[in-house]
């Protein structure tokens, strides 16, 4: 798609957000897989990156995704207490809490960054939450605030 077409698409009704999703290998990635094999529909807006644990998700990943022009970011991991590495998601949760509040404080719409828990058995829940996240980001519109221009 040319640049012009892209700009036109952003203005039109049909604009679809692009969302990057960091899924933990042990729960959420398997959950996404289950949603797939169970033929549960979820929006094709997400592009999945598999990470070993939600604790692997450095705030750099999230902020860099936003500056690189992704419209939204989703980070999903195991439910607290179910982490494959025992406490990885608990460490991550504190980090996410601070990051989300800080983003909001800086005036970046907090809805662009979404955190969720989804286990390997929760294909349905995964699909529902991704639908919800996509809806939130779609309402916010394209991410133009601090996208890097050059």
């Amino acid at each position: 798609m040319t640049v012009k077409n892209e700009q036109e698409a952003e203005k039109s009704e049909e604009w679809e957000p692009k969302i990057i999703a960091f899924l933990c290998n042990w729960c959420s990635y398997a959950g996404a897989d289950l949603a797939g094999v169970s033929r549960i529909q979820y929006p094709p807006n997400i592009r999945i990156v598999r990470v070993p644990c939600s604790g692997r998700v450095n705030p750099y990943f999230i902020v860099k995704s936003l500056t690189d022009g992704w419209d939204g970011v989703v980070v999903s991991g195991c439910h607290p207490g179910d982490c494959h590495y025992l406490t990885g998601n608990l460490v991550a949760r504190r980090r996410f809490a601070i990051l989300k509040e800080l983003l909001e404080f800086f005036g970046i719409e907090p809805g662009r960054v979404n955190f969720m828990w989804a286990s390997a058995a929760e294909g349905e829940r995964f699909a529902v939450l991704i639908r919800k996240a996509t809806k939130i980001v779609k309402e916010l519109g394209p991410n133009k605030k601090f996208e890097k221009k050059w």
Binding site: P80, R94, I98, L102, E104, F106, G107, L129, K148
Partner: protein, 339 residues
Amino acid sequence: MGIEIKNQEIENQMRELARNLLNEKKVDVIIGYAKGTVPLSSAPIMITNEEDIDKLIWNNLCYINLAKYLVPRIPQLIDPEGNNLKVGIVSKGCVGRALIHLAVEKQINLDDIKIIGIPCNGIINRKKVEKEIDEKEILEVSASGNDIVVKGKDFEQKFPFDEYINELCKVCKVKSPPTDASISEACVGECQEISNLEDDFADLAEFEAKSSKEKWDYIKDLLKTCTRCYACREACPMCYCNLCFVDQNKPIWFGKTTELSDIIVFHLIRAMHLAGRCVACGACSSVCPMGIDLNLITRKLEKMVKERFDFTSGIDSETLPPMMSFNMDDEQEFMLEED
């Protein structure tokens, strides 16, 4: 009582303590404040001889956080045989907090350090004063009564002290270094025991009530003049990483330009790294050559960790800072849930 008398009292008391420490060989070197090379500034000084003690000063321009001179990035203070020198450090409240937090992070050993506690009475907001006098050349700054008197070639202006101190100093509750039973041996001079620090963060309420767009416009306006000189990082006692994320070039996480997105990202991630660690000394704002006042972000960091994790950095030498620990029962209201 005017501030000049108070400053003089603090100064005399501080010199006396420093002299005693040096004489009794309890410390080998004293780190303190000395007269700056230009008015409206101060400089750090390291003193090993008793004759030099009179170079130590205290006034309301001692904005540097001296704990910076003990962190690992600075070459260590060692004698010719390679043993650690014992250090006495002139500490206002926030220097004391920084020392305790650095000890909690196992970066310094308080056994080798004597905290010379002094009751700080606020640091002048240099940028605010400079702005008021149109950045004309200042020849002399002094204090009289409750005013700061700034003299130049053909002008003399008075500023009310209470208004022209740093925003952080206005809400500061830790004037002299905190101490508790486990570190009381390291403290000389005026130190205070703080058990429960209450703060309502009323100064943040106005900003936080703004809409997302207003906040963004404000932050954009505040930071857009940043030249990425990293003076804030260099002055910060908590920024001691050997390789800062902005200097890292494999991978290059964030650009090094002064484009708005890069500036915002730098300040955002810097704030992220200081969550639960920032001791609210305001050194970053004081040294900024562009006059960017980072106190809002600093206060927000304090508020977040206080409300979420009930933690105040640099008060308590035993509790693990929130970003170094975790708890099964942390709040998670921000997580996405099914309706």
